[in-house]
């Protein structure tokens, strides 16, 4: 599964951080970002650095590159590269190490490439400056490297500007750029976060093969435990600037010995469970704000195993729990690690009522672009229906039509007997608006920064006519804050005083202010950290169950979708590829696209293995969609002459489980499951 070390064993680590401390100078003094961090990375090893946003993982990478900016500086400890003190290297020598011996791959490939230079120009200068190659040799080397990162049409790419190629191609260019100088160490800072899942899967596969073939050492920084499992042999878990657990991926992920790591796993959905059988457990509270560090264990205030007087007395040291596995916890020997995490109460599967929302042949055209093409599905009362797809699949267009922000070109949407597909929100009655509410994607954008939380919820109540008298409106605001488990004094706060998760809770409160019958949630979790995601997910499930609301959950994250939804609609380039109940969609027969999507989801849980299905290329542009089946350009099962010419037929495998595909029925039925439970 992981990249095994096949390089020469050596006693000196290629990279070593010893008690590294980094601070940023702020207006209020120094704020520590990394505290006494130690790491040793052996030759040819791939080491994962995981943690939630703000834990200091990217700062470490920038410190290794000696690029902390004006405000940041190393205040203690050492960084050794092949035994040399990196912090003492200056001038030309530093320049040779940067991009020569150590190369970096960045989170946002588009922003990392110079917009006014050709790709070729930006690539060839690496061998030209590091090895003094001439332009011709450098270009030849670059072309070979583009081939190596599996880039088709390398010659054209060389002449292109960054904005002319897709996000996946841009990231391949950045990887090629890093590899051009044959570095001994690669730093990867969330290299796939900005990409779609199926594109991500390709890049991850490439990274894995690089470390296997070239024996390059890698430091892989990610918030995604699944990606680390797929790419690394060892892992360091970070929390609030500190390493809290380190060990091999197998031992840490299977037998974690730090309450934080355990909390992270408990807040992630697993393939075998859903909201009814095993609810997610979130980590209570939030990470301490930078600069305010609790005494003793920094995870103490959020830890379920916290013992006052012991955990908060002095800094907890790293202690070995097994060979090569250490944890920064005092109670490693006392906690029953194998026991199921805190028994959260599951709920009975709710019964569904009649059809709440019915969509028939819904189509939206923007000139030549068909954003939604004959969508047909329905949602029942109290049901969670997930709409799944990658960027450009038309899921957000559908949400905008449903909310009345734009109008459909043809087809219908029926809500409680009312036709909505061409009824703009301005002409909808307060009742209709109240019964159809939305939760938006970006928590940092969903609340108006200029008004208090309370006044924004109150505005909804007043506008939708839920209550009319001021004291009763106020009362309802407080009730709603209770409902989303926020303290009542948050009513007086402004959005900037809230964390992302808290903002999203307010957004939930706002959506449920008028007892809606249908709530559309457009990627409400994608911008949140894992531990916070769990809390918001549980909140949604809980409220929905209590109020009997229909939830349309729009997402690209299949693991959350599997956990949360009762039924799934899979979309690709404006069309529905497959729909059915959750367990039907997640088991064969699959639509080839569904299969690829499932296989692309990184999986952290060691109890499962998955089959490799790789798609080639990127999603075609919606303005020039492929003829026939929209997926035909990337489909591994493509039948030439059929798939690329004729629209696929709908095949029904169970009541409501429909797949739009040309493959013969037997072929679809014979598909193997993507996931497999491994017996350990």
């Amino acid at each position: 599964m992981s990249a095994q070390t096949n390089a020469v064993p050596s006693d000196t680590p290629i990279l070593e951080c010893r008690d590294l401390s980094i601070s940023y100078t702020g207006r209020t003094g120094d704020v520590p970002a990394v505290v006494r961090f130690s790491l040793s990375l052996m030759r040819g090893e791939a080491h994962g650095l995981v943690g939630e946003s703000g834990c200091g993982k990217s700062t470490i990478a920038l410190a290794i590159m000696r690029y902390l900016g004006k405000a940041g500086r190393v205040v203690g400890g050492k960084i050794l590269f092949e035994g040399r003190d990196l912090l003492a290297v200056e001038g030309d020598e530093l320049r040779k190490i940067r991009g020569g011996a150590i190369a970096m791959i960045y989170q946002e490939p588009m922003a990392s490439l110079n917009p006014s230079m050709t790709i070729g120009g930006q690539l060839t200068e690496v061998p030209m400056y590091h090895e003094g190659l001439g332009l011709r040799d450098a270009a030849a080397r670059t072309l070979a490297m583009l081939d190596r990162v599996r880039m088709a049409d390398a010659g054209r790419i060389m002449r292109s500007y960054p904005h002319q190629i897709s996000g996946g191609q841009q990231q391949r260019v950045v990887i090629a750029m890093a590899l051009l100088s044959n570095p001994q160490l690669l730093l990867l800072d969330e290299p796939t976060t900005a990409l779609d899942v199926t594109v991500e899967a390709g890049i991850v596969d490439l990274i894995r093969s690089i470390s296997a073939e070239l024996g390059t050492s890698m430091l892989y920084i990610s918030h995604n435990l699944g990606l680390v499992r797929e790419t690394c042999a060892r892992v360091t878990v970070m929390y609030s600037g500190e390493a809290v657990e380190v060990g091999s991926v197998a031992s840490v992920f299977r037998g974690m010995r730090h309450p934080y790591t355990r909390g992270l796993f408990a807040s992630m959905p697993v393939p075998s469970a859903d909201k009814n059988s095993r609810p997610l457990t979130s980590i209570p509270g939030q990470p301490p704000p930078p600069g305010v560090r609790p005494a003793g264990c920094s995870f103490g205030p959020r830890c379920g195993f916290f013992v006052a007087g012991r955990c908060d007395s002095e800094r907890v040291p790293m202690s070995a729990v097994a060979p090569g596995h250490a944890s920064r916890c005092l109670r490693t020997g006392e906690i029953a690690w194998e026991a199921a995490p805190a028994p959260a109460l599951g709920g009975a599967a709710a019964g569904f009522g009649g059809i709440a929302l019915e969509i028939k042949g819904l189509t939206k055209r923007y000139g030549p672009v068909v954003a939604n093409d004959a969508l047909t599905f329905d949602a029942r009362q109290g049901e969670t229906l997930a709409i799944v797809g990658e960027s450009g699949c038309g899921k957000s267009t559908f949400a905008r039509i449903l909310m009345g922000l734009i109008q459909a070109s043809s087809g219908s949407i029926e809500l409680a007997g009312l036709e909505l597909s061409r009824l703009p929100v301005t002409r909808r009655s307060a009742d209709t608006i109240r019964s159809l509410q939305m939760i938006f994607q970006n928590p940092f954008d969903t609340l108006n920064p200029s008004h208090t939380v309370g006044s924004q919820i109150a505005r909804v109540i007043r506008k939708l006519g839920v209550r009319r008298e001021e004291p009763r409106i106020r009362e309802r605001v407080l009730e709603l804050l209770d409902l989303v488990k926020l303290p009542r004094d948050f009513a007086e706060r402004r959005p900037r005083q809230l964390s992302g998760g808290q903002k999203q809770r307010v957004a939930v409160a706002r959506a449920f202010a008028g007892n809606p019958t249908v709530v559309v949630a457009d990627e409400p979790l994608s911008a949140l950290d894992v531990s916070v995601q769990a809390a918001v997910t549980e909140l949604l499930v809980d409220i929905q169950r209590r109020e009997g609301t229909t939830l349309l959950f729009i997402s690209h994250d299949l693991s959350v979708v599997r956990y949360l939804s009762d039924r799934i609609v899979v979309m690709y380039l404006g069309r529905i590829m497959e729909q059915g109940r959750t367990h039907e969609v997640f088991a064969p027969p699959y639509h080839p696209y569904t299969e690829a999507l499932l296989a692309a989801v990184p999986l952290a849980d060691q109890r499962y293995a998955k089959r490799k299905v790789l798609l080639t290329g990127d999603t075609p542009s919606a303005s020039n969609p492929p003829s026939g089946c929209r997926f035909s350009t990337r489909c591994p099962y493509k039948i030439l002459g059929t798939c690329d010419r004729l629209a696929p037929p709908l095949q029904e495998f169970a009541p409501g489980h429909r797949i739009a595909c040309h493959l013969p029925r037997e072929r679809l039925l014979a598909m193997q499951p993507v996931f497999e439970e491994v017996n350990l």
């Binding site: 190369a103 946002e108 990392s112 904005h163």
Partner: protein, 316 residues
């Protein structure tokens, strides 16, 4: 690229047409027509002009024709270079304009000659090292020179360089023929403000670029600092300043009014000011038209430069 520029050109043409219509409508109003009649017939005021005389005059001038017919006629003659006659000086407006525009163009030439190298260099130097001592000094001086209005700069420069030190003459009327010494004060006045402005803009563009992720990429690729700046940073940082240099032409037409009047330099601004004071309608009308024409062309050039310099737009 050609397509984009063509579209901008069409927009500009539409704007020019609207402006010309606007100007024609304004100066075609009764108020100005009477003024013109009085001036031409040598009356001492509207009161002395009898209704009959006035109407006869209108008839003779063809001013009773429908509005759009007259507009079309006017536009045709404008396009043929006939901009009317100056009432004050009794010469063709085009002759008057040619002379004054040439003088202003000479002034503008020297302004750009100083402006471009000085401000781009200083702006890039300041923006390259944000927060450094050099940056602080350059930025502070730039805030200072842009804060002093040109009228005050003109005063201070005159007092110091001319009245105090006696290095250059205080006025630039050039009564004894063209002299560069007389041009120094208006030139410096214009330069001080414009350099400050362009330095600030260049610095802002440069600091943005230096903070960008692609510069980080370039540095962490191990490129020499010179190459990072010259090859990676400048290409992006200079896009905005270059477009602003073209737009400066428009600003200059505005700034020269005060400066030329103060130093009595016989340029475009001075001519416009004189004509406005005297009520020389046809000159005001023609001067405005020409000014707008220059301004619109400079906008078009600026847009074209932006499109040309920015691959993201060029190959969109």
């Amino acid at each position: 690229m050609g397509n984009l520029i063509g579209r901008r050109a069409a927009q500009m043409l539409l704007i020019m047409l609207t402006v010309s219509l606007l100007l024609f409508a304004i100066f075609d109003s009764d108020q100005f027509r009477e003024k013109a009649a009085v001036a031409e017939l040598g009356g001492f005021g509207v009161a002395t002009l009898s209704d009959a005389d006035y109407h006869a005059w209108l008839e003779k001038k063809g001013l009773n024709e429908p509005f759009f017919a007259r507009y079309a006629g006017w536009l045709t003659s404008v396009l043929h270079g006939d901009l009317g006659r100056s009432m004050e000086k009794d010469i063709a407006v085009s002759t008057l304009l040619k002379g004054s525009l040439a003088n202003t163009a000479a002034l503008a030439f020297f302004v750009f000659l100083g402006l471009i190298p000085v401000s781009l260099t200083l702006g890039v130097l300041a923006g390259m090292n944000e927060g450094s001592r050099l940056d602080r000094v350059i930025s502070f001086v730039a805030v200072f020179t842009t804060s002093i209005p040109q009228i005050a700069t003109a005063v201070l420069l005159t007092v110091i360089l001319s009245l105090g030190l006696g290095w250059v003459p205080a006025k630039s009327a050039m009564t004894d023929g063209w002299s560069f010494r007389e041009l120094v004060l208006p030139l410096l006045t214009l330069l001080l403000y414009d350099i400050g402005y362009l330095v600030r803009m260049t610095r802002a563009a440069m600091t943005d670029v230096m903070a960008s992720q692609y510069i980080r990429t370039a540095i962490l690729k191990g490129l020499p600092y010179r190459r990072v700046i010259l090859q990676h940073a400048l290409r992006n940082a200079l896009i905005v300043p270059v477009t602003l240099i073209f737009l400066e032409l428009n600003g200059l037409l505005s700034q020269v009014v005060v400066v030329e009047v103060f130093f009595q330099y016989a340029g475009f601004g001075r001519m416009l000011f004189d004509a406005a004071n005297f009520g020389d309608i046809q000159v005001v009308q023609a001067a405005t038209l020409v000014a707008v024409c220059v301004a619109v062309s400079s906008q078009l050039l600026s847009d074209a430069a932006y499109i040309f310099l920015n691959p993201r737009v060029r190959f969109a």
